[in-house]
């Protein structure tokens, strides 16, 4: 393989991961927009999405409805998005919104606590929840070559799906009335309310979308690695938040760019640096810290003057 080939191959892998991260990052950015909170439990909704899909699959198998792979995959995605979205809205109502006006430390710790609760609930309630859970192979296996680069069908599908979801979210936020409401609230909640936007409903919908999108990422992750586990949410939360910040917190495109950048950073670090494979995240987090220090508004954020 030539250097260029390696570069391309790694880029493709990085993009794959990056899309997944973007989907999680979008949630962080949306929540920050409408509620001014960082929901540190968001990574656990990513995990929850995977488990919801597993549960739905088990049910489908039990009733003998696991025939057509395409139908099952659609059923898993839609079902898990709905279920995870509902959990997202309920938790938002019960514990995220009530602390959104509290000092930042309180909301931080409450959402961290929520993350623990979700993680542990999955571990305790799911049969043998502490073990890694295998994901069914429902996607076409095998791969094809473009030059020297290997592309797996499964990855291609996942990638396409991720892009589709991102485009859908973008459409929702930027082209629909609901999206307009969300953007208005993100700009200025009080003003939006005066203009007749139903604040509570908008926040609910935002959490519904955010959690559902995280669920998609969770299922993609399951198919990609062939398994999932109850404790993968914490790390994914940090990655998602990092991605949102690199891109520019509060900016949807920022979240997407940030996610992809994080994915690329990780894969290139793994391929190019000595001891890179084990320490790829050390490198990625280092870059994140540098970003926070030297460009806290992220790639797409604007500089703001602090008012005194």
């Amino acid at each position: 393989m030539t250097f260029l080939d390696i570069l391309l191959q790694q880029s493709i892998n990085g993009l794959m991961l990056g899309i997944m991260y973007s989907l999680v990052a979008v949630g962080f950015t949306l929540y920050f927009g409408v509620l001014d909170v960082i929901n540190f439990a968001h990574g656990d909704f990513f995990m929850l999405g995977g488990f919801m899909a597993l549960m739905l699959y088990a049910i489908a198998e039990a009733v003998g409805f696991a025939g057509n792979a395409l139908v099952v995959v659609i059923y898993l995605f839609i079902g898990s998005m709905i279920l995870t979205g509902v959990v997202g809205v309920v938790t938002e109502r019960v514990c995220v919104k009530p602390v959104s006006k509290a000092p930042m430390l309180i909301s931080l710790l409450v959402t961290l606590g929520l993350g623990i609760a979700i993680r542990e609930a999955v571990r305790v309630l799911y049969p043998r929840g502490s073990d890694p859970k295998g994901f069914p192979t429902l996607m076409p296996q095998g791969s094809f070559n473009v030059g020297n680069i290997v592309i797996r069908y499964e990855n291609l599908i996942i990638f396409g799906l991720g892009i589709a979801v991102i485009m859908a979210v973008n459409f929702l936020i930027n082209r629909t009335k609901m999206g307009a409401a969300i953007r208005a609230v993100a700009q200025d909640g009080e003003a939006a309310m005066m203009m007749g936007v139903d604040l509570d409903r908008t926040i609910d919908i935002t959490f519904l979308i955010g959690s559902a999108v995280a669920a998609v990422a969770g299922i993609m992750n399951g198919f990609y690695y062939g398994q999932t586990m109850f404790n993968i949410g914490a790390m994914m939360g940090v990655i998602g938040f990092s991605a949102a910040v690199i891109g520019g917190l509060g900016n949807i495109y920022g979240a997407i760019v940030g996610g992809i950048l994080f994915g690329l950073l990780e894969t290139f670090a793994a391929a190019a640096l000595p001891y890179g494979a084990e320490n790829k995240r050390v490198f990625a987090f280092l870059i994140v810290i540098l970003f926070l220090v030297f460009r806290p508004t992220g790639i797409l954020g604007e500089k703001i003057f602090e008012r005194v």
Binding site: M104, F241, N279, F285
Partner: protein
């Protein structure tokens, strides 16, 4: 009113005060020694009842507080004696003694974290990482160069303080959520590196770290007093009490000084602080490092207590526990941190009866507590400096009676 004041000052006041301390003490010991979950439920009910009772009779609570303020010295002596007697009462259960020592280490670390988070408003979610620095420094120095524990203990603290420098720039340049993210990222970086580096033992960590021994006396020997035999952990317990006392007194003195005032102001309003000549950055760095020293000290102690450390001991969830202790206990408040560490370290152990569900309960309790009592169990009290500068003497004779304050110790 005057009558009451007199009884409070007299011997009855002292007896009541010691009685209150004793009741708390007995309840605490009972919680540890009575097996099963019923005692926990019973005491929880008792606590709820007490809270309601004091809510309805605030005067009684205020009087008890006055009592403690009036006889601060006696209250302290009583408390210290009771604490020193703990090993005698739970000699039969080394497990609980060990748990209390662990609680003491968390207390030490959280006093450091409280300086950063509670007093100065610097979010540090990497406390477990600095705990690791202290622990690994002590372990490596003891294993590699055979340094004795009485040197590695301060060495661990200093090392954690030095490692703070890695985060100096981010600490000054970021705050709030961003600083939270920086420190979480740092925490993950440290855990990953510990796992992957060879010279820290990788995933296996460090084994056979020598336990404490001073001048040939190994802390791993049981104390035989003739009438009673204390488990070996009693040695560690007393050392822990010493460490906690030093760190606790230092923290309280910092709180009640110009430094405390300065840090509180930085926490509440950096711009206002600067406008009055405060070198905000300098203080942030000093306190960030000092806090991490305390955390590292606790880590070093941990190394020599258990003799075996590995990366999972220092993962993100430990940071979370420490932050919860500070926030749930009550920020910028030494007493709050004490209450927080006792509750958050000992209760989960007691919850072992519900095994699998305990972390779930932990998460839920955290959420509920924070939503309903965001200022913690022991809320921050505005400083009046009566303890340091004494009662207020009014110079202006015109302004009549001198009932301004009840006086300090």
């Amino acid at each position: 009113m005057d009558d009451q004041q007199r009884t409070l000052a007299g011997p009855w006041g002292i007896i009541i005060l010691l009685g209150v301390e004793l009741i708390i003490y007995v309840l605490f010991l009972a919680l540890l020694l009575v097996p099963g979950g019923e005692i926990l439920a019973a005491e929880a009910l008792l606590l709820v009842a007490a809270v309601f009772y004091f809510r309805r009779n605030p005067a009684l609570g205020a009087r008890i507080q006055q009592l403690f303020a009036a006889h601060a010295r006696i209250a302290w002596i009583g408390a210290v004696v009771l604490v020193l007697l703990i090993p005698f009462f739970i000699a039969s259960s080394p497990y609980w003694l060990f748990t209390i020592i662990i609680a003491g280490l968390f207390l030490t670390a959280c006093l450091g974290l409280n300086l950063q988070l509670g007093s100065s408003g610097m979010v540090n979610l990497a406390s477990a990482a600095f705990y690791a620095v202290g622990a690994y420094a002590a372990g490596l120095l003891a294993l590699g160069w055979g340094w004795p524990a009485w040197i590695t203990l301060p060495a661990g603290a200093v090392m954690a303080g030095l490692f703070s420098a890695l985060l100096f720039v981010p600490v000054l340049k970021t705050k709030g959520h961003y600083l939270a993210l920086v420190t979480i990222a740092f925490q993950f970086m440290v855990t990953i590196l510990l796992d992957n580096m060879e010279w820290t033992g990788g995933p296996q960590g460090l084994k056979n770290i020598p336990l404490f021994s001073v001048a040939g006396y190994s802390f791993n020997t049981a104390i035989n007093l003739g009438f009673i035999k204390l488990p070996a952990y009693a040695n560690f317990f007393y050392l822990m009490v010493l460490v906690v006392a030093v760190v606790g007194v230092a923290s309280q003195r910092i709180y009640s000084s110009w430094v405390g005032v300065t840090l509180s102001t930085i926490r509440d309003d950096e711009i206002a602080a600067q406008t009055f000549g405060v070198q905000v950055n300098r203080w942030k760095l000093v306190i960030f490092s000092l806090g991490n020293c305390f955390i590292g000290l606790a880590g070093a102690f941990y190394s020599h207590l258990v003799g075996f450390i590995s990366p999972p001991n220092f993962a993100f969830d430990k940071s979370l526990v420490m932050v919860s202790i500070v926030i749930l206990g009550g920020m910028d408040n030494v007493f709050g941190v004490i209450v927080g560490s006792l509750l958050l370290i000992i209760l989960p152990e007691k919850l072992r009866v519900v095994q699998d569900y305990r972390f779930l309960i932990y998460g839920l309790v955290l959420i509920i507590m924070l939503i309903f009592r965001p200022r913690g169990l022991v809320p921050f009290k505005a400083r009046d400096f009566l303890d340091l500068a004494g009662p207020v003497r009014r110079k202006r004779a015109a302004s009549a009676s001198s009932t301004v304050s009840e006086g300090g110790a």
